[in-house]
């Protein structure tokens, strides 16, 4: 996975509704059609780092199959951050694409 993009993907995954770690990994994997594989072990430190920065907040709740799980929710600052990151990323992708030129 591209360095530094995990944070952005996690924030994007939380945009529709709060979710717990397992769901977040799943969402990223399924929406990317399994192109992006998330190592669960590194997902959690990333979540904690984002929480420290105030982009997401957490609460404990019961999951869909009735297990205890820690849910994360996108905060206002997190949403703003995501918008900023997204436009920066898109600029970057456009630039790289231009440099690469059309595929031969």
């Amino acid at each position: 996975m591209l360095l530094g993009t995990l944070d952005m993907l996690v924030l994007r995954a939380l945009l529709p509704a709060p979710a717990h770690g397992h769901t977040i990994a799943h969402v990223i994997e399924t929406t990317s059609e399994d192109t992006l594989l998330v190592e669960h072990g590194s997902l959690y430190p990333a979540l904690h780092r984002l929480e420290d920065k105030g982009y997401i907040a957490s609460f404990w709740g019961n999951s869909e199959n009735n297990r205890k799980a820690k849910y994360y929710r996108l905060t206002k600052t997190g949403k703003d951050h995501l918008i900023g990151e997204r436009s920066r990323f898109e600029t970057l992708v456009r630039a790289i694409t231009r440099v690469l030129g059309p595929a031969s």
Partner: protein
């Protein structure tokens, strides 16, 4: 952020564990839903999660502050190490606690007596005025800082270098109105006292120059804050109320700001009144306008921008002009020789940023000496602990070598060892503060001051705690640094291989330990020398024949709470002596006007007609009651003492001591002859007896010439009498009875300072008592530490050389050769230590010379005894391990490989 995580890391960790568990569970559920069997489903979930310990490690790093984390780790490790060897830790902490405690205790006193400034705004600009030499007339007080009131006034009103000059005189006064008359210290001050010192009011108003214009015209008083708090329960309604001082009413106008106790360190003034009220307080001292009577202590505040030197130069001119005016006094025309002496006076200024320095002048030298002594104690304790650490490091070589082999850097290990030192020092510091508080409390209790009126405190304040903290930190560095560096050096390859020899430890560590022991030996020589000099001083002082039998005598001051008529005093004092003499357990009672051995004195010329005018003697005077010589056990040599038949009869009689008779009457008792008190005085007093020599204001110095006058001849001037009661047994047992008899005789009598006379005498030599007692204690402590240190390092050396000694013995070495081997290890250390100690001892002797009494600072006996004692102790510490070395069994040692 990391800090917050760090502080909650155990909770964080548990939460993370929960999340992991939740993830695994969800993944397992999914796997089962896909149709995988439950045990496999869980294992697959784990695989899917990835490296668990890596995730935990990542999380752990996020939650930690790196430096702090290693520190915490080191601390935990240190605690485990200390727990593993509690004996070592106890020895180290105890020696450090003693060292730090001694330092804190002495600093508590040094700080308050020598360092601290007066609690007033800009204390640095306060100065005290003094005149040295050529004092003509009557002097009260310390004889250098006192001025007559007219002289003071002239300087105050003409000077232009100060923002103001003020002054004070301290006195005891009876405060009546409570349940019992009470003696309090009052300060009689000039009207501008509070303006010049810059002290504000807590309540009401303070004195102003308008309160100090007419003699006896301003009966107003200002209370000290603490006194107001304790005696009047901080009653705000006190302003406007009346209190009675020596029987006269005074109107309380206010309370001074908190913390201000007057300008005399250690001895607080409880009440301030205008100095114009002095005649009211002491009717026998109405000399506000006598320029030849010095008793007033001036203080001044320098104008901004004026230096002390400039002010002194300007004031010298003024003082000189004033002297010229004073020369018109008829005294100088009558006795022209006084003129030259008077003009030889030197006027000076000295800093008063710490207030009047009586206490400081008296204790500065001893305190500085003590501060150095305790520094030496701490240094020894440090060397001792450093030695212990090195020894322990030697036994931990294997552990350290293994830690280095698996990748710990030398700095990391040294840091960990230093943490251990810091922990030991910290524990020593905490225990030291407790020991220090106890020690300074006992020290203060041993000072000869009325504790109720002495405000030097033993309670450690922030400054003392700060000092203890700094000392502790320095201590940890000092004793920890060298061993930490040395011990962390263990090279894995060498150490782990030499393990087989049984004893590890490089020769470098032994050299370092020997250096520490040499320092200890040197310090113990130094302290023993100091202690020896002080003990000899004390012995010399104790050996002085005071001329009195003091063992069973109780002394106290007695004064009427308000002024009595002379006739009433004559009657009262006689009645009091009779009643006290009849108290159970009392053998004899007498009283005098000038208290013995407290530094107070009254002296003057004696007109003896048999001696030519220009060689007539000065004599000390004391006014006494009948029974005085019996009470003090001063033997009669000729004639008689006073009896009640002399009392109030109008005939002036006197007794002289042997010294004056020897010098001026050719040893012929001058019974029946007459003399006059003063220069060219009328011969109006008849000598009725001669008594043995005794000491007067001090226990030191030459035998004083003394003349004893019958008290009735000066009864009008006497307010306080000092009573001496001889008990048949222990003087303490009659104290209660004496109190009862005094109250029964007249309930208005105020008793002060009742105590055995021996205590009063000891108070005269309190510096020497303290110095000799403390120096001896510290010296013994340090010597003990040094000997233990020496013993330790030699035992270690023997253990290290066991194999070598065994081989030597197997090859035929005799026991003496083995002993010589060990002595050769210890002798250089001891000799070097002793030489350094003796050299430093000469320096110390010079420094403390003025604290010694009839002892030379290089007293041969003291030096010889010290060196001898140390050699003996060192020999013992050497021969024990040496003896053990001769018992090594070669066969056993050689089989050890």
């Amino acid at each position: 952020m990391t800090w917050r995580r760090f502080l909650h890391r155990s909770r964080r960790h548990a939460e993370f564990r929960g999340e992991i568990e939740s993830n695994i569970a969800h993944e397992t559920d999914e796997n089962i839903a896909r149709g995988i069997a439950p045990p496999d489903a869980r294992a697959a979930a784990h695989r899917r999660f990835g490296n668990l310990s890596l995730a935990l490690e990542k999380e752990y790093r996020m939650n930690s502050v790196p430096v702090f984390d290693t520190l915490l780790q080191d601390l935990r490790y240190s605690v485990r190490q200390i727990k593993a060897q509690p004996g070592f830790a106890a020895a180290a902490v105890l020696s450090l606690a003693l060292g730090i405690g001694a330092n804190t205790a002495i600093f508590t006193l040094t700080d308050q007596i020598i360092v601290r400034l007066l609690p007033v705004p800009e204390p640095q600009s306060l100065v005290q005025l003094r005149v040295d030499g050529g004092r003509i007339g009557s002097n009260n007080g310390d004889g250098t800082h006192t001025f007559s009131y007219p002289t003071f006034k002239a300087l105050r009103d003409t000077q232009n270098v100060f923002t103001g000059i003020t002054g004070q005189v301290i006195s005891g006064a009876s405060l009546t109105g409570g349940d019992r008359p009470e003696m309090v210290r009052i300060a009689m001050v000039d009207g501008n006292y509070f303006q010049v010192t810059g002290v504000g009011a807590r309540l009401g108003r303070l004195l102003t120059p308008d309160d100090n214009i007419k003699p006896n015209g301003h009966p107003v008083a200002v209370l000290q804050y603490e006194f107001w708090k304790s005696n009047y329960r901080s009653d705000a309604a006190i302003a406007g109320q009346t209190i009675r001082l020596n029987g006269s009413p005074f109107n309380v106008i206010g309370v001074a700001a908190e913390g201000f106790e007057g300008t005399t360190v250690g001895f607080p003034a409880r009440i301030w009144i205008p100095v114009m009220m002095r005649p009211t307080i002491s009717p026998t001292n109405p000399r506000l306008d006598n320029e030849r009577d010095s008793w007033f202590y001036p203080y001044a505040r320098l104008k901004p921008g004026v230096s002390m030197g400039q002010a002194e130069a300007a004031m010298r001119v003024l003082y000189r002009q004033r002297q010229e005016e004073e020369l018109s006094n008829p005294l100088f025309t009558q006795f022209p020789q006084l003129r030259d002496s008077f003009l030889k006076q030197t006027f000076r200024l000295e800093s008063a940023e710490q207030g009047d320095g009586g206490l400081r002048r008296r204790f500065e030298r001893p305190l500085i000496v003590l501060q150095w002594l305790v520094a030496a104690v701490l240094l020894t304790a440090c060397s001792n602990v450093a030695g212990l650490l090195l020894a322990r490091g030697a036994s931990r070589q294997r552990e350290i070598a293994i830690r280095r082999a698996i990748g710990a850097g030398r700095a990391r290990i040294a840091a960990q060892l230093l943490t251990e030192s810091a922990l030991l020092a910290g524990m020593g510091g905490v225990a030291g503060i407790a020991i220090g508080a106890w020690l300074s409390k006992s020290l203060l209790a041993s000072l000869p001051f009325d504790q109720a009126n002495f405000t030097i405190s033993a309670i450690p304040d922030l400054r003392v705690l700060g000092f203890a903290f700094v000392v502790t930190a320095l201590t940890a560095l000092f004793f920890g640094l060298a061993p930490a560096w040395q011990n962390s050096a263990a090279a894995p390859s060498v150490t782990l291989r030499s393990e087989a020899a049984g004893i590890a430890g490089g020769s470098a560590s032994v050299r370092l330990r020997k250096a520490f022991v040499a320092v200890q030996v040197g310090l113990s020589v130094l302290l023993l020398l100091g202690a020896g000099l002080f003990v000899k001083t004390l012995q010399n002082l104790r050996r002085i024949d005071l001329g009195i039998k003091s063992e069973n005598v109780v002394t106290m001051g007695v004064s009427p709470a308000f002024p009595y008529e002379p006739a009433r005093k004559l009657q009262l004092f006689r009645e009091l002596m009779d009643n006290l003499g009849r108290a159970p357990g009392v053998a004899a009672v007498g009283a005098n006007s000038t208290q013995l051995f407290m530094g107070g004195r009254s002296d003057g010329s004696v007109t003896i007609p048999e001696v030519p005018e220009n060689s007539r003697p000065q004599s000390f005077f004391n006014w006494i009651t009948p029974g005085y010589f019996e009470a003090l056990g001063i033997p009669m040599k000729a004639g008689r003492g006073f009896t009640w038949a002399d009392w109030g009869g109008g005939r002036r009689v006197a007794v002289m001591n042997e010294q004056i008779v020897k010098e001026y009457y050719n040893n012929q008792p001058p019974i029946g002859r007459s003399f006059g008190r003063g220069m060219r005085a009328p011969l109006d007093t008849e000598i009725v007896g001669v008594f043995g020599n005794s000491r007067y204001h001090d226990v030191r110095g030459e035998i004083p010439r003394q003349t004893f006058m019958n008290m009735d001849s000066a009864i009008a001037n006497i307010t306080t009498i000092n009573v001496y009661a001889r008990a048949t047994g222990d003087p303490r047992t009659v104290m209660a009875a004496l109190h009862t008899e005094i109250q029964r005789t007249d309930p208005n009598l105020v008793v002060t300072g009742m105590r055995p006379l021996d205590e009063q005498i000891n108070s005269r030599i309190v510096n020497e008592l303290l110095l000799s007692f403390l120096a001896t204690g510290f010296a013994v402590l340090v010597t003990l530490l040094a000997v233990i240190g020496l013993y330790g390092v030699l035992t270690f050396a023997v253990a290290r050389r066991t194999r070598e000694i065994g081989i030597r013995m197997a090859l035929g070495a005799e026991a003496w050769a083995v002993v010589r081997l060990i002595v050769s290890e210890s002798a250089p250390v001891i000799l070097f230590g002793i030489a350094a100690g003796v050299a430093a001892g000469y320096g110390l002797g010079k420094y403390i010379e003025n604290q010694l009494y009839e002892v030379k600072p290089d007293d041969t006996l003291v030096f010889a005894l010290t060196v001898g004692a140390l050699l003996a102790a060192a020999a013992l510490a050497t021969l024990l391990p040496a003896h053990r070395a001769t018992r090594i069994d070669p066969a056993h040692v050689l089989r050890m490989d």
